[in-house]
Symmetry: C2
Subunit: 109 residues, 2 copies
């Protein structure tokens, strides 16, 4: 059983984690912007506008909840981002092997 | 004092009113779509996406509340639309003079 609360992060690991977090966030945001602009170009009637609004409401809520940079939950956050394709394993190279293994394992759950 | 509840609408007036209502709605929606597409083209960062979301939340609420086609409130609705520039006086030509006068007067309040 993983004991997340006992995991410690070295300063180097914190830097790697912060950069990886930011990379994943930037990738997801860029994809979101692309999607919004693509959908916007296709708007022809009011229902398309309200669909875009509903979509943004849902995505905003998801993104606000998901990008939680607290070390107590960071392995779970990274696992989720890895699963969704916003984080790559190469982004977290340099974290101790145990953390990378846990992130990988969690991402397959 | 206006007695809105006592106002009656002939069948011809109802047809004119429905068409005027639809014209105003279509104009406002077209302007909204133009604005959304224009803003969307300018999105460069996530704050721009959330601004668009906030804007759509507000406009959806306004539009849902404003386009209320009940004869008991229609003079007020038309006055509001006239004031905002979505309805033109020529759209309501054919309504009895008394109604047009009330709509005009209310639109200047």
């Amino acid at each position: 059983m993983m004991q997340v609360s006992e995991i410690t992060w070295t300063e180097t690991e914190k830097e790697i984690a912060q950069q990886a977090f930011k990379k994943a966030y930037d990738r997801e945001i860029m994809a979101l912007i692309d999607y919004v602009q693509d959908q916007s170009d296709k708007i022809a009637k009011i229902e398309d506008v309200w669909y875009l609004h509903d979509f943004l409401s849902a995505r905003r809520h998801q993104i606000d909840g998901k990008y939680d940079y607290r070390y107590s939950v960071l392995l779970f956050v990274f696992a989720q981002l890895l699963k969704e394709g916003w984080l790559y394993l190469e982004d977290i190279q340099g974290l101790e092997r145990e953390k990378v293994s846990k992130i990988s394992a969690l991402s397959r759950m």
